[in-house]
């Protein structure tokens, strides 16, 4: 099983997000960057499939040079190879632009794969667009938001989360699968793995090499505003006897908030 896993470097979920208003961008000073949490499930799943059925796990990031740090983490977890598709553009929030880069890299540089794994969305842009867009551009089937994946020869069965239940999806490989929390429990890197990862090369693929022109790389998203929400104000605090506090709360919900 030849697998490709796509990962992104994002601010960790404990980050307080601050805005540079003039440029409508996120201030990066003081942020701690990590591999997007859902991508970690995707890497882990690929490693487990490799352990069970053999094959190779190659990880790919699209981004600036700093993205190499998350690729090294994946190598330390046990990925065989890592590639950085170098894209110095600031966040465009346009999934199709990234999907075009990925689809082209898969076709021209990475030689395809049986399984293309992604996190269900990057934590941050929260678009959840790129995997399904890449699947469409590559003509591959998809199962998104997957909590269970079984590979059987040239086909796969995935359980994907839907409102109030699960959908079972039958796929013919090659296919795109996106990982949801619950798919597995990602392993920690070992010291040996970290040491070995430091020595592995991370080849860089440029957008020029992919033959992508200005038209392909233009963003369809024009950002017109970026703001943090107004802080909520603390309301009324009810103390004292639980029964009385409960009664008062119900009264407030009914007469003041009018929500019940």
């Amino acid at each position: 099983m030849n697998m490709l896993v796509f990962v992104k470097r994002v601010p960790d979920t404990e980050s307080r997000i601050r805005i540079q208003h003039e440029t409508r961008t996120i201030l990066e000073d003081g942020l701690n960057f990590v591999i997007s949490p859902y991508d970690e499930y995707a890497v882990e799943e690929a490693l487990r499939i490799k352990e069970a059925k053999g094959g190779t796990v190659r990880v790919v990031a699209v981004g600036r040079d700093e993205a190499a740090t998350v690729l090294r983490k994946c190598l330390a977890m046990g990925a065989d190879e890592a590639f950085l598709v170098k894209d110095d553009a600031p966040e465009t929030y346009d999934g199709l632009r990234t999907a075009r880069i990925i689809a082209r890299a898969v076709e021209r540089k990475l030689g395809g794969a049986d399984l293309l794994l992604f996190g269900k969305q990057s934590v941050g842009a929260d678009n959840g667009q790129v995997p399904a867009m890449a699947a469409e551009l590559l003509g591959l089937p998809q199962a998104t938001v997957v909590t269970k994946l079984e590979i059987d020869g040239a086909s796969a069965t995935a359980l994907r989360e839907i409102e109030g239940g699960l959908e079972k999806v039958a796929l013919t490989l090659p296919a795109v699968v996106t990982a949801q929390k619950g798919l597995n429990e990602p392993r920690y890197e070992t010291l040996k793995g970290i040491m070995a990862a430091k020595k592995k090369p991370v080849p860089v693929i440029t957008l020029d090499e992919l033959g992508l022109g200005a038209g392909d790389l233009a963003s369809a998203v024009e950002v017109t505003g970026l703001d943090v929400p107004a802080a909520r104000q603390a309301g009324r605090m009810l103390q004292g006897d639980p029964a009385e506090a409960a009664r008062e709360l119900v009264r407030l919900l009914r007469n003041e908030a009018k929500v019940i």
Binding site: T13, E14, S15, R16, I17, P37, Y38, D94, G95, L96, A99, V123, A125, D126, Q129, A132, M133, A135, E136, P141, Q142, T144, E161, I162, E163, G164, G165, L166, E167, K168, V169, A170, A175, Q180, K181, A220, V221, E222, T224, G225, L226, V228, P229, A231, R232, A234, G235, M237, L238, Q239, P242, A243, A245, A246, L249, V250, L253, A257, V259, I260
Partner: protein, 325 residues
């Protein structure tokens, strides 16, 4: 034209799709355009009156046995066929599991930009402007799409349903050819959760528990509380989920679900920044916590300082009494 794709589950159109259609009608009206609905399925033309009832005369229908089971590949071909025929300015989807799965595929097929999980659509200088949360709601991004068409998924429970305004109409059939070899994946089975609980993203009220619950058993107290409330679901903080007390599909926060219910009740949740991100857009927030200094207390409209094991049963009792009146 601004169109909305109407998602069908259990033979019915989803409420969140009708919300998206309502928003399509409002914005189309503002721009002097017409609004339309799109149905895809095996034999679904009979559902068109749901759109007529919302004042939508144009309902496009793409029917055939190849659409009996959901396949993002087949459905994307169908919706691209609709777009080629009707040339809408914009196509809206509900940001449901299906909408989030399908819309990007359609966007890629059409070479169109997509605004995901929008909480606001406005008309500015004659163009649509979409507002959507990023970092799970720690910030909000407003954007325009320069493509034609413009695609957007709209978050459930945010856009109000349009008033009923029945118009007469006939389904407009669009013939779309789906080559068998173009479909390599489809849904073979839908497995319902046994409890048939509603999802936290679709509930009007979410009752969530955190580390303060001390174990899985106390979620029973929250289920009892949710059971007396209309359209209520049980949610959880990351630490409760990571401790294995409840399934991850209940998790609210940055690595879980972002919710905007009418009422969010945080029980035994301190309010880590990644949790607050996922629920701060709730209309009303109630917190039950023994620590008056917990961060959650600073965002709550009403907070009870006390032991949740004493407070929650009392609250259930009082709500039951009040709702019976």
């Amino acid at each position: 034209m601004i169109a909305a794709y109407l998602e069908i589950r259990d033979g019915k159109i989803k409420k969140s799709s009708l919300e998206a259609l309502s928003e399509a009608r409002r914005r189309a009206g503002e721009l002097g355009l017409e609004a339309a609905a799109v149905l895809v399925g095996d034999s679904v033309a009979g559902l068109a009156p749901a759109a007529f009832g919302l004042g939508i005369a144009k309902v496009y229908v793409i029917e055939g046995p190849e659409f009996a089971a959901y396949s993002p590949q087949a459905y994307a071909i169908a919706l691209a066929g609709f777009a080629a025929e009707a040339k809408p300015l914009a196509l809206f989807f509900a940001a449901t599991s299906m909408g989030r799965d399908l819309a990007p595929r359609v966007a890629a097929r059409l070479g169109a930009g997509l605004a995901s999980d929008c909480v606001k659509v406005a008309v500015k200088d004659g163009a649509l402007e979409f507002t959507r949360p990023i970092y799970a709601g720690k910030a909000f991004l407003s954007l325009r799409l320069t493509s034609s068409p413009q695609l957007a998924t709209l978050r459930p429970n945010v856009f109000p349903l349009a008033d009923e305004a029945a118009v007469s109409g006939e389904p407009i059939r669009v013939a779309v050819d789906v080559p068998a070899e173009a479909v390599k994946g489809r849904v073979t089975e839908v497995v319902k959760e046994e409890s048939a609980e509603i999802d936290v993203t679709e509930a009007d009220i979410v009752v969530s528990g955190g580390r303060g619950l001390k174990g899985p058993e106390a979620f029973g107290l929250l289920r009892d509380l949710a059971a007396v409330l209309p359209r209520a679901a049980v949610g959880a903080s990351r630490s409760a989920v990571d401790s294995g007390w409840i399934g991850h599909q209940h998790q609210v926060g940055q690595t879980g679900k972002t919710v905007s219910p009418l009422l969010y009740m945080a029980v035994g949740i301190s309010g880590a920044i990644q949790h607050l991100a996922g629920m701060s857009s709730s209309k009303f927030i109630v917190a039950v916590n023994k620590d008056p200094e917990a961060p959650i207390m600073k965002v709550a409209d009403y907070a009870i300082v006390g032991d949740l094991f004493e407070v929650v049963p009392k609250l259930t009792e009082e709500l039951k009494k009040a709702l019976a009146e």
